[in-house]
Symmetry: C2
Subunit: 214 residues, 2 copies
């Protein structure tokens, strides 16, 4: 019997993609608890979502559930990890070795999901050559050459806003297509560059939800 | 002429609320640039959103725009800040003075939006009594009494996952209704407690967008 359908990552909506890690966490926990089959309804209850929403979201991964039974936990984990491309390595660097950058260097949870941070960069000469969580800090002067020679595919920006666009442009010119923007400003892709994705992490949205509703 | 309509914060959707800080940032920048009136279309272009979306979102703040002209920048800032309740003080503490907690203590950008972090807490005796960015670290033993005596309305959790639910429960039992959850687990409100809002910041969603699309 077929377990998976072919997948089309480009057709999945951003909100769906953003929910998939939560599903994976629930299903991994179920596996750790010895659960073999899990229903969409159980996952929905755990995450306070509508069951129909969960089933539609999970369908993008190509998993085929059994009617009135649910999903084989092992297969669902495989499908989620494969769809998310968390079963392959993404070589990354952190630019800006301040508190937030250092916190992210120590965030080893991502490592099991394919995120392999191999270096940090900072303009502060006092930090260059030091190691945080085992990861060496290099001078920002070396950034462009490092990016092109080490197969870096993802850059994490934790630098001050006033230098963010300049560094972002440099990173894109070095061929990086995925930028995780933790700065406070919206970064722009320079004209003529295509296929670049900049994901902005904006803490002010989360704060807004709390300040409005609480 | 009337500038504002009455507002109903509970009727605004979460996605709308989450977009409001970005609007505020654009409009504050416009004010800094000397702009007096700004159109919804201009804001939409800046944020790569549909103009109709921007106008609908801004309507929740009670602002009344002028047809074919736009919004008075000063009034729009007032309306956004008031709706977000960023014009009043939210007294907060950070629990967990690791790298991420320390990074958030230094994230002074939120201060101008009403977030006043007055203390940090940690179980590590080596950290207790120290100050990060001027904010003192207290022992977690003192947490409950501190929360009730200092009028803390918002708690920021940057603690390891295995102690997160226990601390969360303690914080809610001390009367806190707004919890900003930076841990990797989904926290639950204890039975019998009402009106508590837990906002989970999940970096894995942002990573998912990058790993899938890049």
């Amino acid at each position: 019997m077929k377990k998976f359908r072919p997948i089309d990552r480009m057709s999945a909506s951003l909100p769906t993609i953003r929910r998939l890690p939560a599903y994976l966490q629930v299903v991994r926990q179920a596996e750790a608890d010895g659960v073999v089959v899990i229903s969409g309804t159980t996952i929905a209850q755990e995450l306070e979502l509508e069951p129909i929403q969960v089933r539609k979201d999970l369908a993008v991964t190509g998993i085929i559930g059994k009617p009135r039974v649910g999903y084989v936990v092992k297969d669902l984990i495989t499908a989620l990890e494969h769809f998310l491309r968390w079963d392959v390595t993404h070589t990354a660097v952190v630019i800006g070795a301040g508190h937030l950058g250092t916190a992210l260097l120590g965030h080893t949870e991502f490592r099991k999901n394919g995120l392999n941070v191999i270096a940090a960069f900072d303009t502060d000469v006092a930090k260059v050559g030091k190691r945080f969580h085992g990861i060496e800090v290099f001078s920002t002067d070396e950034l462009s050459s490092y990016l092109t020679t080490h197969g870096v595919t993802l850059v994490i920006l934790t630098i001050p806003a006033h230098v963010a666009q300049e560094i972002c442009t440099k990173v894109i010119e070095a061929g990086v297509k995925a930028i995780w923007n933790f700065t406070s400003i919206k970064l722009k892709v320079p004209e003529g560059q295509t296929g670049v994705l900049i994901q902005k992490e904006d803490l002010s949205s989360g704060y807004a939800v709390l300040s409005v509703r609480a």
